[in-house]
């Protein structure tokens, strides 16, 4: 028996993964839990472990290919002979998918007993039998027959008859889509069609919700390249924040005491900044909330996400319980997170779910001031610029106006600046 190895689902949003490399080849023995391959999701490269003891069997999906989640990428066999043998004809060879493909929607054919024609159950045995049949009474039911095909098999004549008149379903716009387009003030002729050429409600809604595509016809000649998965993800996340009503409040603070303290204690400056934010949040719990369609989500813990530049994009590793744990412990977490970030080994639980964010561009001396975008799921983000000659640094707090107001932001910044003047208070929670 061979059991399929499937492309794992590493995050809620993951539709496709890249098979970075195989660490085993067909015929190699593996133990349960042993790493057999590396797989790359939106943000991270992760190790794929064997789910049972056995021998790796082909065909294996090619390295470097993009594969939809839950697709078979290889096999684990019970014995070495089977692992070396050719793939049985019934097995699906792993396929590389160029685009994110949905998981297979067709179920396996039902077991044979389910293929008998569905009908009312025969009378229960204990019930008294009807009297002897007259000429027109029905004969006893025949034995079950295997007839109606499964959705995955050949189509029955009844289904064929239903589908026959629908054959030339190409082009045009559905009545619902036309009505929606009229209501939304969209010209049906300009709407993009689906794969079968038909404009349906989904396309109308997507067109209404998507920013118009730029018209590049008068721009210089160009080629369109697909951005990396990471850039797609960041773009999508940022676009989703366009409905957030945002305001910004800027103050300046003298960060020299903090810098000196960090230097003496060999603390990371970013860690201390995040700690100062967390302690300010304990005094202003309004900021540790997020707006949701159902109401305000009040978080019971302060988790700070720290924006990190990784060259071709941006990730936000999260330090959990930033106000309730010893600074030494947080420093160790931060070291591990930074290491994972550099090696692109962050998992979704490492970079998702912060309640407050910090973005520090202070290492770029020319940045006098900037503001950041509040990610969904939080209410504020602090942008830290570079210090000027006098050591003054601009701190800009971007806020979700549905959750907090200008005076709240002013009070928060006041508390934060006070904390930054007394860095020794950051050690104990």
């Amino acid at each position: 028996m061979k059991q399929p190895i499937i492309m794992p689902v590493l995050s809620d949003t993951m539709e496709v993964g890249r098979l970075v490399r195989w660490l085993k080849k067909p015929g190699d023995p593996v133990k349960k839990g042993e790493v057999i391959a590396e797989v790359e999701s939106d943000k991270a490269v992760m190790e794929l472990e064997a789910f049972s003891d056995g021998w790796i069997a082909g065909p294996l999906a090619p390295e470097g290919s993009e594969i939809a989640v839950k697709q078979v990428i290889g096999w684990i066999a019970d014995n070495p002979e089977e692992a070396k043998g050719e793939a049985a004809p019934t097995e699906t060879a792993p396929e590389a998918a160029a685009e994110p493909a949905p998981p297979p929607e067709k179920p396996a054919p039902p077991p044979p007993e389910e293929q008998a024609p569905a009908a009312a159950p025969p009378p229960p045995k204990e019930a008294p039998k009807p009297p002897p049949a007259p000429a027109e009474a029905p004969p006893p039911p025949p034995p079950p027959q295997a007839t109606a095909p499964s959705p995955g098999g050949t189509v029955s004549p009844v289904v064929t008859a239903a589908l026959e008149p629908r054959r030339p379903a190409s082009g045009g716009i559905t009545p619902l889509a036309r009505e929606l387009a009229a209501e939304l003030g969209l010209d049906p002729d300009t709407l993009p069609a689906g794969a079968d050429g038909v404009v349906r409600a989904g396309q109308v809604l997507a067109a209404a919700l998507t920013a118009p595509a730029p018209d590049l016809s008068h721009n210089p000649p160009h080629q369109v390249e697909l951005p990396s998965a990471l850039r797609w993800k960041v773009a999508l996340n940022m676009q989703r924040t366009t409905d957030t009503p945002m305001f910004r409040v800027t103050t300046t603070a003298d960060l020299r005491p903090l810098r000196d303290f960090a230097h003496e204690g060999e603390w990371s400056l970013t860690l201390l900044l995040a700690r100062a934010c967390a302690l300010a949040l304990t005094a202003h719990p309004l900021f540790n909330q997020a707006w949701t369609p159902k109401g305000l989500a009040r978080f019971e813990r302060i988790d700070i996400g720290i924006a990190m530049d990784i060259g071709e994009g941006l990730v936000t590793p999260v330090l959990r319980d930033m106000a309730g744990r010893p600074l030494e412990e947080l420093a160790e977490d931060w070291r591990i997170l930074k290491d994972k970030t550099q090696r692109r080994r962050l998992r979704p639980e490492d970079y998702e779910g912060a309640t407050f964010y910090l973005s520090n561009l202070g290492t770029f001396p020319g940045v006098r001031q900037f503001d950041a975008i509040v990610p969904l799921g939080s209410s504020a983000i602090l942008a830290v610029a570079a210090a000027d000659a006098e050591g003054r640094t601009a701190l800009t707090l971007s806020c979700d106006h549905r959750v907090v107001f200008g005076a709240d932001a002013a009070r928060f910044l006041d508390t934060l600046v006070t904390r930054l003047k007394q860095p020794e208070t950051l050690v104990k929670p």
């Binding site: 179920p107 009908a119 159950p121 027109e136 027959q145 959705p151 009844v158 008859a161 239903a162 379903a169």
Partner: protein, 328 residues
């Protein structure tokens, strides 16, 4: 209190209670008396109410149906059993020319409290002449009411409502549903006899069905749900009139409709349903209504072929997948 009964038992109970309550209610048909009905629906009534009120007739559909029409004209409440709908063809003159039209032609002065009970549909290997779906023929007769119960509860209610009605009502029973079990609560308030019900809510498509196909549609919906498709199942319960509002409300939610019927596709009940729903729901539709129906051919005797001429649960599942995929 609801108890689990078979559909024939629910019908039997309704008749018993009607006869006990009103002396004007009587039964006539072939083998309804001493034999107890070919599907047991009149079992025990002959012994209880006697041969005057449970009357065995010769094989003479037009005559005994005509007798029922005459009795109804006199103000009685006859319940005529036609052994299967196939033999109703012999009684169409009494049904169409008399029962359906007399109340109209008399300006409403002549009552027509006639109930005709008749089994129909494709059972098991009864061949072409005994496996007909004639709902389209009966639906085409102005003045006739047609109810199509799919559960013991509806069978009980709708037969009672039919007998108490002053309009001619055909209770179209399905030969394969007589031994279908379900709850019966005689004390629950019945809905109007011609109202459709949503048997299962869903968001992805609407399955419109009746009689045995309503049962199969429910089973298909369960399987579709396991595959991530939420089908709303509507049991029409009545074919004349049809409760359009329940269907329209559902299509407004799902935007896709799959009609499942055992009747032949060409000019069948589903054709009427599809046409009317298109008119009523045009701007709500993401795809043309789809009809899954019996093939346009006489039903073969061979069991394998027979099963392929009418929709099965697998067919409903497959068609639903196609419709949802087509319109998404």
């Amino acid at each position: 209190m609801a108890e689990e009964v078979l559909i024939w038992q629910a019908l039997n109970r309704a008749l018993d209670e009607l006869m006990a309550a009103d002396e004007d209610v009587f039964i006539l048909g072939e083998d309804v008396g001493l034999y107890g009905g070919s599907y047991r629906v009149t079992e025990g009534l002959y012994a209880k109410y006697g041969e005057w009120r449970v009357r065995d007739t010769p094989i003479s559909e037009d005559s005994f149906t005509g007798l029922g029409v005459g009795a109804a004209l006199m103000g009685l409440r006859p319940v005529v059993e036609i052994m299967t709908v196939n033999f109703a063809l012999l009684a169409l003159d009494a049904i169409i020319n008399m029962a359906a039209k007399v109340p109209f032609m008399s300006g409403g002065r002549l009552p027509m409290g006639l109930t005709i009970r008749t089994p129909g549909g494709v059972a098991k290997q009864l061949a072409a002449q005994h496996s007909q779906r004639l709902e389209h023929t009966l639906m085409n007769v102005p003045g006739l009411r047609i109810v199509v119960p799919a559960t013991p509860q509806d069978a009980y209610w709708q037969l009672k409502q039919a007998v108490l009605s002053d309009e001619p009502v055909i209770v179209l029973e399905h030969e394969l549903l007589y031994f279908h079990k379900g709850p019966l609560d005689p004390t629950a308030p019945p809905p109007p006899p011609h109202r459709a019900v949503v048997r299962r809510p869903g968001r992805d498509l609407t399955l419109v069905a009746y009689s045995k196909m309503a049962v199969l549609a429910g089973q298909a919906a369960e399987r579709l749900a396991e595959q991530g498709i939420e089908a709303e199942v509507i049991d029409l319960r009545s074919l004349s009139p049809i409760d359009w509002q329940t269907c329209v409300d559902s299509v407004a939610r799902t935007h896709r409709v799959l009609i499942v019927e055992e009747d032949c596709r060409f000019a069948g009940a589903g054709a009427e349903i599809a046409a009317d729903l298109t008119e009523r729901c045009f701007t709500q539709l993401e795809a043309a209504p789809m009809r899954l129906a019996g093939l346009d051919m006489p039903t073969p005797y061979n069991g394998t072929l027979e099963a392929q001429t009418i929709p099965q649960v697998d067919d409903i599942v497959a068609a639903a997948h196609r419709l949802v995929k087509e319109a998404s």
